[in-house]
Symmetry: C2
């Protein structure tokens, strides 16, 4: 049974909406927005005031959320892609009665220590489904949410998973390139439960949209397989009719809502000045008159409060009905297992077994291949792992043997062909992780981490356990040349807070990296994997139950006596460090070799362990990338063997020789350092 209310058949207990009611509900949003932005002397009144009518209709007639259970799995999702309009969201949440969004939060909009950040921040307050603000991210994240909804629905059924994803987007969201990736993906996958309401107000910061765009957005989205309608964004019945139609259509929907930015501010509405600045006391007074809103600042009349309260009550009823269905459902245990945190023990056991086999077999494979081998085990142990690649499946080795593609005709698979859309993929993975129930990973070449960096940043900022499988991680990819060879990407990613960058040296470390990624709950993981084959380096008698990558760095070759020099390397360069140590040993120079797959994890170790690993001898860092980021482990007088500029096109061995990233050069550098 579906308890969703819609315009033609309101559920019992919900009074039929009247135009006057919804205008009152909308004006409550407008008033709170004006007042909060004025109090902060900072913020964006234009969008919330312009889209208030759309929000009132959407919440009043369609959207089911329960403020008492903000994480209820089958709630409708609401994404404010135009995140600068945060006061719309905060106003609605206050009016709906979210416990952590009291009037003090609104009075202290954008102030230190309050939940009402300038842009909605996931985790700061209940019901914020995703962090938005960087334009276009919301719509692209919502594609992942809507896809996750269909995938979970296919695994379970309508009784457990059956909701909509609603997005409010602005002109900026639709101008950003990521919107194309999102639109194409949603249209292709026929995500009919994704409904985007575009705030078509004709205004951007610089002025009229005529200054910079003339795209027919309706035609453009139709070309991507969307259902498109246009409505007067201040006509509740038209809005309701459009949303009802969108819900019926099997395609994703774009509703172009023609609005007046800053609606209600009589002297400023319709202009770019109202987008991102307080209205000022005079204009607020004029707006109160214009809107027929005689109430004091932050004051909500009982009638408006009651209308919003009814919305929350309808949501609570829907949630209660769902709880009943959940209890009665035969698949509740499987559903709960999907929704729960990763099963650390089960994963750890499976991966230890896998490592044991690797230590015995000692394969010489590229770490991208080792990753595929790890995924064979991991995906078998995790029922909700979802793979994918931005059209590099065979190169990224992201598809384990039992995976089946997700298609518009059959959402029951677990592998997503994201297409040549790195940015859209990363945002969709954020959406899948935010939706809950599924654990996404996706691949591309490491050089193209740049293409999806804004979404990787949101993974990190929101603390989402998304895994990025980035292969072809250095000049070791060879002939494709400088555009495809990452030299600065590893450093640039290590610079990002709350992102674990792991560059494993062999199949064992790769398996360990996957174990860490799979168990992570609040940190995304980004793996840098080689194109070229690498030998198994870990001692065959190593205890397979111990995950050394978890330490971030460890002594791979520990001399018996004192060391003369410490060689620290990652990934494909650890093999080179070991060979250099051999060369040095022949000359009577004792070198310790440290494998350092994850700098972030090593930083988290206590300083005693760190000192034990790094030692007091002179150090040489070795990585086929720029030095930046290494200096936390190196002193000024220490040395670094790596890259100082962009790469070149040639077979990998020629490039390693050309750029001096060889055992011979490391040994020579050590000799010079010790001289």
């Amino acid at each position: 049974m579906n308890t969703h209310v819609n315009v033609s058949a309101p559920a019992a207990g919900t009074a039929p909406a009247t135009k006057a009611d919804e205008r009152l509900m909308a004006n409550a949003i407008r008033a709170l927005t004006m007042d909060a932005v004025e109090a902060a002397n900072s913020g964006h009144p234009g969008m919330p005031m312009g889209m208030a009518d759309v929000a009132a209709v959407l919440f009043n007639r369609f959207l089911n959320v329960d403020p008492a259970a903000p994480d209820w799995p089958d709630r409708d999702r609401f994404v404010l892609s135009a995140g600068h309009g945060s006061m719309l969201l905060y106003s609605v949440h206050h009016l709906l009665g979210y416990a952590d969004m009291d009037i003090d939060q609104l009075r202290n909009f954008r102030q230190d220590g309050f939940r009402t950040a300038g842009h909605p921040e996931y985790g700061h307050a209940a019901g914020i489904e995703t962090t938005t603000g960087p334009l276009g991210q919301g719509i692209a994240t919502a594609v992942g949410m809507a896809l996750a909804e269909r995938m979970m629905n296919a695994r379970f059924d309508d009784d457990l998973v059956d909701h909509h994803t609603y997005v409010m987007a602005g002109d900026g969201c639709l101008m950003e390139g990521i919107s194309h990736e999102a639109a194409d993906m949603a249209g292709h996958l026929k995500l009919g439960r994704l409904i985007v309401m575009w705030d078509d107000n004709g205004i951007t910061i610089d002025g009229s949209t005529d200054l910079s765009t003339s795209t027919d957005q309706a035609a453009r989205f139709a070309a991507c397989g969307w259902h498109v309608t246009k409505v007067d964004g201040h006509d509740p019945e038209a809005i309701a009719q459009a949303i009802a139609e969108a819900r019926q259509d099997p395609r994703p929907s774009l509703i172009a809502c023609r609005t007046v930015i800053g609606y209600g501010a009589p002297n400023k509405q319709g202009g770019s000045g109202v987008h991102g600045a307080p209205l000022g006391a005079d204009e607020i007074a004029a707006a109160r008159k214009e809107l027929g809103w005689p109430h004091a600042a932050f004051d909500i009349p009982a009638e408006a409060a009651a209308l919003w309260c009814a919305v929350a009550e309808r949501g609570a009823e829907a949630r209660t009905a769902w709880e009943g269905r959940r209890k009665a459902h035969p698949d509740t245990a499987a559903f709960d297992r999907h929704m729960a945190a990763p099963e650390a023990c089960r994963i750890g056991k499976a991966m230890a077994e896998h490592r044991r086999a690797l230590l015995k077999d000692r394969p010489k494979v590229a770490t991208r291949k080792a990753s595929e081998m790890a995924l064979e085990t991991l995906n078998a142990a995790m029922p909700n792992s979802v793979g994918g690649s931005a059209d590099l499946t065979g190169s990224n080795n992201t598809r384990s043997s039992k995976m089946r593609p997700v298609t518009a005709e059959d959402y029951s698979g677990d592998y997503i062909h994201y297409g040549i859309r790195e940015h859209g993929m990363a945002a969709a993975m954020n959406g899948i992780a935010l939706h809950g129930g599924l654990r996404p990973y996706g691949g591309t070449f490491l050089a193209f981490a740049d293409y999806c960096r804004p979404s990787i940043r949101l993974s990190a900022l929101m603390g989402l356990p998304v895994t990025y499988v980035m292969t072809h991680d250095s000049i070791g990819l060879g002939e494709d040349g400088p555009t495809h060879q990452p030299v600065e990407q590893i450093a640039s990613l290590r610079a990002m807070p709350n992102l674990d960058v792991i560059r494993p040296a062999d199949a064992v470390e790769t398996a360990e990296a996957w174990e860490l990624a799979a168990r992570s709950t609040a940190t995304p993981t980004l793996m840098c994997l080689s194109r070229q084959n690498l030998p198994t380096l870990r001692d065959a008698d190593h205890d397979a139950s111990q995950n050394l990558t978890a330490l971030g760095a460890y002594l791979l070759r520990r001399p018996e006596g004192a060391r003369d020099v410490t060689l620290i390397a990652t990934g494909s360069e650890v093999e080179i460090a070991l060979a250099a140590a051999d060369l040095l040993e022949a000359e009577g120079i004792t070198a310790a070799v440290v494998s350092a797959p994850c700098f972030e994890a090593f930083e988290r170790q206590d300083c005693r362990y760190r000192r034990t690993v790094l030692g007091d001898a002179p150090r040489i860092g070795i990585e086929a990338a720029v030095r930046q980021g290494w200096d936390r482990m190196l002193d000024r007088e220490d040395a670094f063997v790596g890259m100082t500029g962009f790469g070149a096109s040639a077979p990998a061995p020629a490039l390693y020789a050309r750029f001096g990233i060889t055992a011979e050069n490391v040994a020579k550098t050590a000799r010079e350092l010790l001289a």
Copy 2:
């Protein structure tokens, strides 16, 4: 007079093309491609073989280049956006007789020390108009080229500037988000001389395009204001007709060329396997039979060579005719001045004058405002400066008072409203710089450097003097919160080779930064500018003719005697360092203060200067950003005052206090360091 040849009226001396001729010309491309990829045992035969017929027609009937003068300003531009098909470009250049593209280059495709890199690299060989490979970049860069052509045409006239920009793009280019930004921009600006030939082969690396996309590309581009046609990409007359029509249409054109990927390889064509792997000896033999090409590997029959030679001759004639028009033209001097390297003396003089005024007036302004002040002077001194912003003109302060917008109706302006398209803006700026004649700069928020990073990378890789004006450069932007506050971006950009990142501390350093950016010829500059006001710090009696920012770092406060501690800061934190030095002085601790606006420039100084500046005393780095990148100047025992995670939403002073980036905390840190 226009000497362009077109299909209906061939120029004198060009034999009318026949279908057989162009098939022969195309097969020469196919054969060279097969042979070179086979020799390299690596590369992408699919695209060059599929698009060979289109290339033959385009060059044979339309495109004017002169291999003897590859940089002739009014040549047509050819951009291979699907850069993996580099053998198409190399084959054509070899056949046209480019001196640096002899057969040895093709025989050594993708080998160390040869010009024939895996993807076309700007500067590696003559006639490579731009570096391509990261998908979508070519089409977006071409938008900048086509825009520059119209802007230069508006400044001069048809006699001096009157050419086309042709692009070959693949499915990947059109799936990438940047293609939307490019398409919207080109359609809006009515760049009718931009003609994109889409290799519509229905294949991506993962398999059929049906796996990941169902967009109606023709409808999509039409929605963006493009002229669109579809042709059989193996029918020369149809191709010629489509190009001729595209040239007549005032809108940018997309020609969907339906092709068979790897056309001519009888057993492999039409499948994804032919995209990126050598065909193998057997298949090459079969293809030779299929194509009626009995010649040995790398052997070109005289008849085919003659046909290609005629194309080069037509180009040479067109170029000679242009030289004649140029000599006779009244604006030749102004044109040459546009095309030449920046006038260092003139710029230096104007900016020294500006600095002199600043040292006297000592304004307390945000460095973004100081940037606008510098641009008032600079834009007056540079006739070919072209500004713009990704819809943040008023926030980035990028438009100086005399600038006029560039519009589809009037290209004579010098300010571009790039719209909410950071990625498209950066790529377009690359295209403008590559075209020649104009010097582009453009603005956005520093946090959104992430959105255009792949194009910034290409600026750096190609060595283009593009200037990025990135404002709101830290938590100092305040209330907009973590999504808008860069903390890791500065480090991530400093990691990029050949990019000068400058973070000026006051109006004087900002003016110095602009002087450096304006005089740069082979390195892009990225400025990090504050939202908040900053006092003038430089001594009033400083010699205005001396640009201290050029040194990268310098002693702003040099104690008379020995120093106890060195405080090193950038941008808005230099003021804090000075205040901390005052606090310490009161306690009898002598602090030197180093302003370090440009790490890259400082690295270029000799070690003696560096030692003089940094001194031997303990050091504290101060920057409202992550520590990464600072360790080149700090030892392990040195300290850093900055950010360790993402920011927050609150007024700037509250954030500085919350994160401990204050004079008091710096002084405390110094005391602890000295204890």
